[in-house]
């Protein structure tokens, strides 16, 4: 049956029993993480092996040959990194577990810039090198590549390069902020087109890949593996999960000014492998909301009956959720994220939440060991949501809650989020894991203060979203 926070008083005993469950054990993925990163670099160097083997000593004696060689090297690297880029975003669960959800995003962003530079360098070097062999100007050579030589798939490669550069420009923060997430996302999906346009010329005329041999077959194998990963992670796995669980909105509960909790139920909830602190991408299938997927963390640890998310319904992004009706089907993708209790490195933890960041923090509290400290910041007392629930949870799990009320620049919060203030509130701070969730301003300021207070970076856990 559904337990509503507004009805907690009458169900105190039941609640306490549920809140007193064992905490989640620690689990280190450091070895996996190191192996994943080492695998990436190993793959990058192996990519160059065929070039090395096929290029005889003393071959690159003139500038045209050297330029062409630079073009081949950058081309091989670009082909590899492009596939890695797609793999990183394939939503494969293992990859996220090993690398971390936040790092996955950062790798994707950085490698994105890297791959665009490689592709542009590849095109430039090859053109200059060939122009050197022909003894014509670079522009003439471009025309030759497309008309005289008529290399197979060469026009596709040119279009792909153009698209890739356009995508990189659109992904620059200044431009991206002007677009809605959905528009940007659809544009970004055209990266798959780039992949398809690029692959043709690699296998048809690529120096190391067109001739039958181990490098050709290895590349094809990697290609197929990446395509399979994308199909699995983006299509098959989500479909399978939704067919199995058939999620529906069960109830909408107001929590405070502009805050609502959405309870979602489904079939066979017991078998849903999910940890507190993770998030799903929720797509509410009604007339107003079907077209967008909202990434939201759960605001309660998963149980056998329902999932819950607590959201602020302001701005056009989430306003449509206010009018959700119970019974609306929900298409759910996930769970994702490693903002979870099993990632802690110390015996105790400190949770810092700002505004609606309380959701995942509240969920995490249920899976962390006793004597956890929660710092919850809000502009005013009315904006503190889930308060009754938090306090009951704190009591049941021997945790301590500090409310920090006030604007960012008021003396109270400023003091609380300074290195000294944090040490005052939590004297054993440096021997705790710190989980942070809130606005970028709060998170950035807190991370700086925590580092100054001496908390090692590996003990600081950030929630995977970047709004």
């Amino acid at each position: 049956m559904l337990v509503r926070p507004s009805a907690v008083d009458t169900q105190r005993a039941e609640y306490e029993a549920r809140f007193r469950r064992p905490y989640r054990a620690r689990e280190s993925v450091d070895a996996w993480r190191a192996a994943t990163i080492a695998g990436f670099w190993a793959g990058l160097s192996v990519t160059l092996a065929p070039w090395w083997a096929n290029t005889p000593d003393g071959f690159l004696s003139d500038s045209a040959a050297s330029l062409t060689a630079a073009g081949r090297i950058t081309g091989l690297l670009a082909g590899y990194v492009l596939l890695v880029q797609v793999l990183l975003m394939s939503r494969l669960v293992w990859l996220e577990r090993w690398l971390g959800a936040r790092d996955l995003l950062h790798w994707h962003r950085d490698l994105g810039v890297f791959v665009v530079a490689l592709v542009v360098a590849h095109a430039a070097f090859i053109t200059l090198g060939y122009a050197g062999f022909e003894q014509v100007g670079p522009l003439r050579e471009v025309a030759r590549l497309l008309t005289v030589d008529k290399y197979e798939y060469m026009s596709g490669a040119f279009i792909g390069t153009g698209l890739l550069v356009a995508l990189a420009v659109l992904s620059m923060p200044r431009l991206r902020r002007r677009m809605s997430y959905e528009v940007w996302h659809v544009l970004h999906l055209s990266a798959y087109v780039v992949l398809v346009l690029a692959v043709g010329h690699q296998f048809a005329i690529g120096q190391e890949m067109s001739a039958p041999g181990i490098s050709r077959y290895t590349s094809m194998l990697f290609w197929c593996a990446v395509v399979a990963a994308v199909l699995w992670g983006r299509i098959v796995a989500p479909l399978r999960m939704n067919l199995r669980h058939r999620f529906r909105v069960r109830e909408i509960v107001p929590e405070g000014p502009d805050m609502i909790s959405i309870y979602i139920a489904g079939r066979r909830m017991r078998g849903l492998g999910v940890r507190a602190g993770q998030f799903f991408r929720w797509r509410f299938l009604d007339r107003h909301n079907w077209w967008q997927a909202h990434p939201f963390s759960m605001s309660a640890a998963p149980n056998n009956d329902w999932l819950r998310l607590t959201v602020k319904v302001v701005g056009d992004h989430t306003a449509g959720l206010r009018d959700l009706r119970p019974g609306t089907p929900v298409f759910v993708e996930g769970p994702s994220g490693d903002f979870t209790a099993d990632r802690r490195r110390q015996a105790r933890a400190l949770l810092i939440a700002g505004g609606s960041g309380i959701g995942p923090v509240r969920a995490l509290l249920e899976e962390l060991p006793p004597r956890t400290v929660v710092l919850y910041r809000a502009r005013n007392a009315a904006e503190l949501v889930l308060r009754a629930e938090l306090e009951m949870l704190a009591q049941a799990r021997d945790a301590q809650i500090w409310y920090v009320i006030g604007g960012r620049d008021e003396p109270g919060p400023r003091r609380a989020f300074s290195p000294d203030g944090l040490l005052e509130l939590v004297p054993d701070l440096v021997r705790r894991d710190v989980y942070l969730c809130g606005s970028a301003g709060l998170v950035d300021a807190s991370v700086i203060a925590l580092r100054r207070a001496g908390v090692p970076a590996r003990q600081i856990h950030l929630d995977p979203f970047e709004f």
Partner: protein, 133 residues
């Protein structure tokens, strides 16, 4: 963003080093049977590596008693399945011409301009080496 800068700088450096290594002249290959100065001994000479856009061309010649007795293609372009095919087709024709004419003055095999040209130049350098020896 700083990581990207490092990665790009590293890639540029590695590429430059790789190219520098590959542009070093090769270690001299042991020339077989170079001991006896008899006319009946076959001696081999390696021609220069001639690059073109499809890859390198290099030949090795065998000389006996002042005559060119064999031309062997050591390196042929590996690029583009099409290029390999052209090379395979052209090489026997080029070898035939070379043995007949006893020189590097060969006709271009149609459709295999790059391979013919590289073959000619590598052959010429091998013949020069044989004359100098």
């Amino acid at each position: 963003m700083r990581r990207v800068g490092w990665a790009l700088a590293g890639t540029g450096l590695v590429t430059a080093v790789l190219i520098a290594v590959k542009s070093q002249a090769p270690a001299p290959l042991p020339v077989s049977a170079a001991v006896a100065e008899k006319d009946s001994v076959t001696r081999t000479y390696l021609g220069a590596v001639v690059p073109n856009r499809y890859g390198p061309v290099q030949v090795r010649i065998s000389v006996r008693a002042g005559r060119l007795v064999d031309v062997e293609a050591v390196q042929l372009p590996t690029a583009a399945a099409r290029g390999v095919e052209i090379g395979r087709r052209a090489v026997p024709m080029l070898r035939e011409q070379a043995l007949q004419r006893q020189s590097a003055d060969l006709d271009t095999v149609s459709g295999a301009t790059y391979t013919s040209d590289g073959y000619r130049r590598s052959l010429q350098s091998a013949i020069d080496a044989a004359r100098a020896a």
